[in-house]
Symmetry: none
Subunit: 413 residues, 2 copies
């Protein structure tokens, strides 16, 4: 079954809010085996809603709409859908009771605007909103379906999970979709494409390959749609096996996860801890790790050694090495890694020192020059990189590369 | 001028990535005074690209496309646009030189796939990609414009800011657009709206007010469009002056800057330095500061004291205070701030300790409980906050509040 999403709201078109509903809905539809053809964002305008619906129905059997069903004047989705489906608004006592309960639970006083939320299109199937006042409306015509849901993300997610998705699955015979992700580390996208060209050529027409690059890592995704899940799974797994024998150790995971999550899992499984000594990455390595829930199991912390004094006093770097070789050098970055590992009593250390830019470059060490070191209690591995001129990108690339280096280091030590 | 955005990529329709390009482009177009009619996300399909372009051109004069111009087979935007605009691909030596420079700067080896990025549509105006290999293509037909940009956000943003937006303004803008931003700190949006309701009511019809909340800060943006720039500037400045007398010290800036940038400027002007001791923010405070170019002038670094051992050994926190009051307490966070300030020899210190979640909460200190301290060499100010249940938001809110607290502390010390 083909589906589309229409998100309604002026605030999306003015760039005031990120439309997070679409990506969540898209992922849910994808998992359920529905093929999403298009996502459309439009303003709170009757004309635009009608035109977007016409277009969507010309391509798809089901259209999910979010937004524009609040009680205020600028929300016109309900009125527009009522006209579009040639019906009229009637008062729903069950919706009214639902609103009353919600209001009494929150100690709110009902007013006329809120009461108008209990008006619903006569021909629509109504699902109660489990977390707000606007009811969910399911319209049908000629075997096609349009569902209007609230724009508030948790109200929408509640409705989608509890009512809308189960009914969509029941009504449309969904084909199975199978995805397999393969994360490849350390090979640029274009080089990877050449390396696997022959394998890619030989893919059957019902299996599609996508390249999704993320700073030093390329996510390869194989997707297929079929009535026969088992044989599709089998065919895709065969291709993945063939790919594995081509790429070998360059494959860092068979699922799509941020590399710090793969590394954290590896540390947790080994019962090991990590600390960081960050100069040019300025805390970003620690930030990325600590965004993960439960990271205190494997992460002790570390030092942001932005100034040379901190490199010496907090990490034990030899000041004469900073004078002789510069802060961006193998000698200094290795001492930083060893220092943080030892002084925090961690199993592993990561250190970075580089010239993130835009200033600070020299002919010898231009902007983008970065040293990364990873170590355990006995051994240190360090490497120099030449990234580009953009500060933010240099910080992100260094962070990503540091995670990759430690991951590989752990596997070969 | 009416505009539309088309984002291209199967990964958007499968919910694998959040389309952050759209919201950024929408905000930029809005600031430039262009009216965005629709945002459309489609897959890497020739048919869909052509149909979306036809629809967009039926409503708008300018269409911005992102994505689908990488070197691999699944990227078909360039080929499709070349056919759509009845032209053919030719080899561009200047694009090739740009790619060669990028590759030599990064020590990469050129291959045939990358070289194919230098093929460009003969009739398009080409802008060099300043951060990647795919060139930016500007097509025109019958006074309407389509611009194809990379899907990689920083490549797209670079191109949009440096080349595409200036040319759009030159080609389509006759009227002047004036924006004034006022950043208000520490007043929730709904309370702020009540406080300035009378002032807002009295705005003339050609001056529009937008509320843009960002974690503890509300950006108020006044915008006007007019043929007469001078009198519009004058009218807007008058309203800003009136607003200033209502809000007084709650206004933290008259331009839209991240709060860490305002704080960094304040530190630089005062010739002062800062260090941080981060527990629950896990490096994010340092990361946000060090994203700013030249931050080493005012930022020395600090300690990510995720484990209690680091709080004691690196910052001198009294271990018995951690035992008696817990790591998330006034006593501990104040010692962290003082410790990092003293031991790094900085003028100011910031410290955070809290329960970011999702686990780790207790009845006394539920998830979202956060202590923040700011200090100079003599005085320490600390405050407890109760944020929500979401880890990432708690980290962001704590970071933002810490910057605001130090900013206010510097002004009143």
């Amino acid at each position: 079954m083909k589906a589309e999403i229409i998100t309604i709201g002026d605030e999306i078109l003015t760039g005031q809010i990120v439309d997070t509903n679409s990506v969540w809905l898209a992922a849910e539809m994808n998992k359920a085996g529905f093929e999403l053809v298009q996502i459309t964002s439009i303003g709170d305008s009757k004309e635009q809603i009608i035109s977007a619906l016409d277009c969507a129905f010309s391509r798809a059997e089901a259209v999910l709409l979010t937004g524009g069903i609040g009680p205020t004047k600028d929300d016109i989705t309900k009125q527009t859908l009522t006209e579009y489906f040639d019906t009229q608004l009637i008062f729903s006592d069950s919706v009214y009771q639902n609103i009353l309960e919600l209001f009494s639970a929150r100690n709110l006083v009902m007013n006329e605007l809120t009461k108008s939320q209990a008006l619903v299109p006569a021909s629509a199937v109504i699902f109660q909103n489990r977390a707000g006042t606007a009811p969910i409306m399911w319209f049908e015509r000629g075997g096609k379906v349009a569902v209007s849901m609230p724009g508030v993300p948790y109200e929408m997610k509640n409705a989608m999970t509890a009512d809308v998705l189960p009914r969509l699955k029941q009504q449309f015979n969904s084909q199975a979709i199978v995805h397999k992700n393969i994360l490849v580390g350390g090979i640029p996208e274009s080089q990877l494409a050449l390396q696997i060209a022959e394998w890619e050529q030989a893919l059957p027409p019902n299996i599609h390959l996508a390249y999704l690059p993320h700073y030093g890592i390329v996510q390869l995704r194989l997707s297929g749609i079929s009535d026969d899940t088992l044989s599709l799974e089998f065919a895709i797994n065969q291709r993945v096996a063939a790919l594995t024998s081509i790429l070998g150790k360059s494959i860092i995971a068979f699922e799509n996860l941020p590399v710090e999550q793969i590394l954290s899992r590896q540390l947790r499984e080994a019962g090991k801890t990590l600390s960081v000594a960050e100069s040019c990455t300025g805390g970003n390595i620690a930030h990325r790790i600590t965004l993960l829930a439960g990271s205190s199991d494997i992460f002790k912390g570390g030092v942001i050694a932005y100034s040379n004094a901190l490199k010496v006093n907090f990490l034990g770097v030899d000041f004469s090495d900073i004078e002789n070789f510069g802060a961006v050098s193998r000698q200094v970055v290795e001492q930083m890694a060893q220092g943080v590992c030892l002084r925090t009593d961690s199993d592993y250390g990561i250190a970075t020192s580089g010239i993130a830019g835009p200033s600070g470059g020299t002919p010898d060490k231009p902007v983008g020059t970065v040293w990364i070191a990873v170590c355990n209690r006995r051994t240190t591995l360090s490497k120099m990189f030449r990234f580009g001129n953009l500060r933010e990108q240099n910080i992100e690339r260094t962070t990503q590369m540091a995670f990759l280096m430690l991951k590989n280091f752990m596997e070969t030590e």
